[in-house]
Structure formats: C-alpha cells, structure tokens
Homo-oligomer: 124 residues x 4
C-alpha cells in the first residue's frame, strides 16, 4: 500500500458534552478522531488541543502501526491532561508519515442520538 | 506552532431556525463557525454574510488571539446587523493570517436535537 | 468581493426520501445544494443528475445573481424532469464563474428530524 | 461529460452498528460509500478495508459503468469477507479512472434515525 494522506491535520470544532442518556460506552456522548495509517511505516502522532481562553494542551502522543486505523476518543485523552467537558476546543495532528483524519461526534444529551462528521483540514 | 490553514474560507449553507425546544443556550438552535488560529500572531477576521434576495451584510469583525480557537455563533452576530432567522444565507471569512474554519448546526426545532458539520471551503 | 470558489463541483450522495412526518415545507424531507456566488458577475449554472441504472438527467439551468446565495432543493427540480424519490443519485455542477457548493439533507421520515451536510467536491 | 474526480480516496471513519430499530432495508443501520463515475469509461474499483488490530481486508472489486453512480453499502460487502459489526474500520478506494466519493451513515440503534456524511479524502 502506498503512502496516503497528509502529515498535518486540523479539526476546528470540538465539544464533548458532559451529559449522556446512556451508560454504555458505545452511546455515551463522545468526539472521535478517526486516523488511518495506510502505509507500511508506523505513524508517530502528536496532538495539540486549543481552547478559547487558555494556552494549548498537549502534546498527546500515539503510535499507529502500519496498515491500521485508530478511532481515538477525545474523551479518553488523559496525559498530560484531560479534555474538559462542555468546553469549546480545536485540535491539530502532526504525523511523521502521511495519514488521513476524519472527525465525528455522537451526542446523546437527549435520549435519541445525533451524529456529525467531517473530513479534517489537511496540509503538508 | 507553525502557521496552519488558509486566509479565505466560505460556508455556502446557512440557516438559523427561529424555533428551539429548549431554553438553555447549549441546546438552543444555532449555527456556529469554529475558527482555529494555531499561529503565533493574532488573526484579524472579517466576515461577510450573503443572502438570496438582498445585498450582503457585514463586515463583522473579530480578533482571535494567537493559539486560540473561537466558536462563533451566527445567532450572536449583532453589528452591523443581526442575521435573520429562518432565512437562507452563506458566509465568507477573510483573515490576515492562516486559520481553519469548520461549520456546525445544532437544530432543536423538534424535541430531539440534530447536528450537522463540515469543513468549510478553503482558498488562498 | 473577489471571485471565490471553483467552476465544477460534484455531490456523490443523493437520496430524497418519499416520506415526511411534517407537511410544512421547512420540515419536509429534502436535499439541498447551497450555492454561493460571492463575485460580481452572474453565475450561469448547469446541473446534471446521475443515477445507478439509467442515463443522466438534465441539464437543469439556473442563474445566481452577483453577491447572492441560492439554496436549491433537489425536490423542486422539474425541468427537464423531476428527480425520483427513494432513488440513489449524484449531481454535478458546472458554472461559468467560480462558486462554492455545500450539500445538505433534512430527513423527517421519522417524527424527529435528522441532518447531514458536507462541502461538495471542487475542481477546476 | 469530462473526467471528474480523483483515482484514490480514503474514508477514515467506519462503524456499522449491529443493532437497528427497523427491519426494512432503507432504515436499517448502514454505512455507504457513494461513488460517482461521471466519465465515459467504466471505472474499475478496488476497495481495501483497514482495522485497528488486524491486517486489512480485501480487495473488494466493483465496476461502475460510464455516467453512473453507485451507492455501495459496506454492510453488503461479502467477498473476500464480511465487514464485522460494531468494529472500527477505515477504507481506501483505488480506481483506474477519476471518480468522486462521499461517505454516509444512517444509524438506527435508537428508534429515531441519525445521519452523518462527509466528502472522502481525495488524492492522485
């Protein structure tokens, strides 16, 4: 498989609702960055999270093995710090090899679920 | 952090429902432009809003500090004029430094919420 | 306002549900192409609609005045022919001046509404 | 109709819910790749599906006739193997002629439906 994608990506939207109508992980309110490493080298990823009223958090570091996808929940980020709930944020992804990034939210503040998704912004 | 993004963005969709099933700000029907300024310079932003049957409104002016995001609700635009509800519009963003723009709507006309989102159109 | 956008756009998804839970136009199931002509010349638009099992329909022709948006419902297309409901389609937009195109569906087959949106594919 | 699109596309998000609130095909939970071949040559398509913890599946092969769209459900992929439900995946599309790809999910785990959509990532 050839290298596919870009080394820098950004997601301008970010909002993890503090409320969920369901206790199981699948339907808990969450935001996800879906990251595809279609190439034959591991991808070393560095994520920075931006806020409206303070300096950025991070870097959060992850490795994605060759020919693997990672569906990374922003809810699960913990080191160096947790992403606050009910708070506007954005995120930037820097990888040493090309990857592809897509953003989703599952929102279950209300008893029905609602979904959003978009390709992230690619550069470089 | 390096400069990331583009200086001109457009969102062709625009529609703020006049109705909401909830009174709290989080679940009120709204459209948002999420704007990331990942660079080390302030971003001076100029927004123009286009309609189907009249000349454009604006410019609306905002400054985004370095390394900050702004989740700007179209509902809140007031100067030089308010965006009418239940009215088709589009928007163009011009910045003096590169930024990244994503568009979302939370629609609560019905008692459950519905979400949409997309990366905006980038140029320049 | 400078010219902004591209002259050719495509939306690969297309599906107009035949059912709606509401009779009013705003909440009737529909798909829309939101088209922004931010420039100072009229945009002459030519839309072709593709199907899974027959030759394309169209062209559908529209003019968008300078500095105007058009939120065009596929439900309303009538000449040269109506778009069938519950049928997979795609669409291609050709304009003589640059425009920006975004795609949305409001789906009210169920009593709650659901939304999707994406920037269209741009070229040329 | 001129050739339109790209030869390589990727969708980083993938998740087919195992549950549906409805038995009819239209409202069953599903993910779709909408693929437009606007050109005058058949498109020979090769799809590879990536996972978090195993080697990729595929290739899945399809032909799209000239001037046709294909709304391909990931649920229906069967050869060389079925896509597992409730499992994170990504997909890569390689075509011998330019095509346009858009991704959608209809999620009916809950009695109301929820939709997401995005243009896929294009390259080459």
């Amino acid at each position: 498989m050839l290298d596919l994608g870009h080394r820098r990506w950004a997601i301008a939207e970010g909002w993890i609702p503090s409320q969920s109508s369901f206790a199981n992980r699948a339907l808990e309110s969450h935001e996800t960055a879906c990251i595809l490493n279609a190439g034959d080298q591991p991808a070393e990823l560095r994520i920075t999270v931006f806020f409206e009223d303070r300096e950025p958090a991070g870097p959060y570091r992850f490795t994605i093995a060759p020919r693997r996808t990672l569906h990374l929940r922003f809810n699960d980020l913990a080191k160096p710090e947790r992403i606050p709930r009910d708070t506007a944020y954005s995120s930037v992804f820097e990888s040493d090899v090309p990857v592809v990034v897509q953003h989703t939210r599952l929102d279950s503040r209300r008893p029905e679920i609602s979904l959003l998704s978009t390709i992230a912004y690619a550069e470089g």
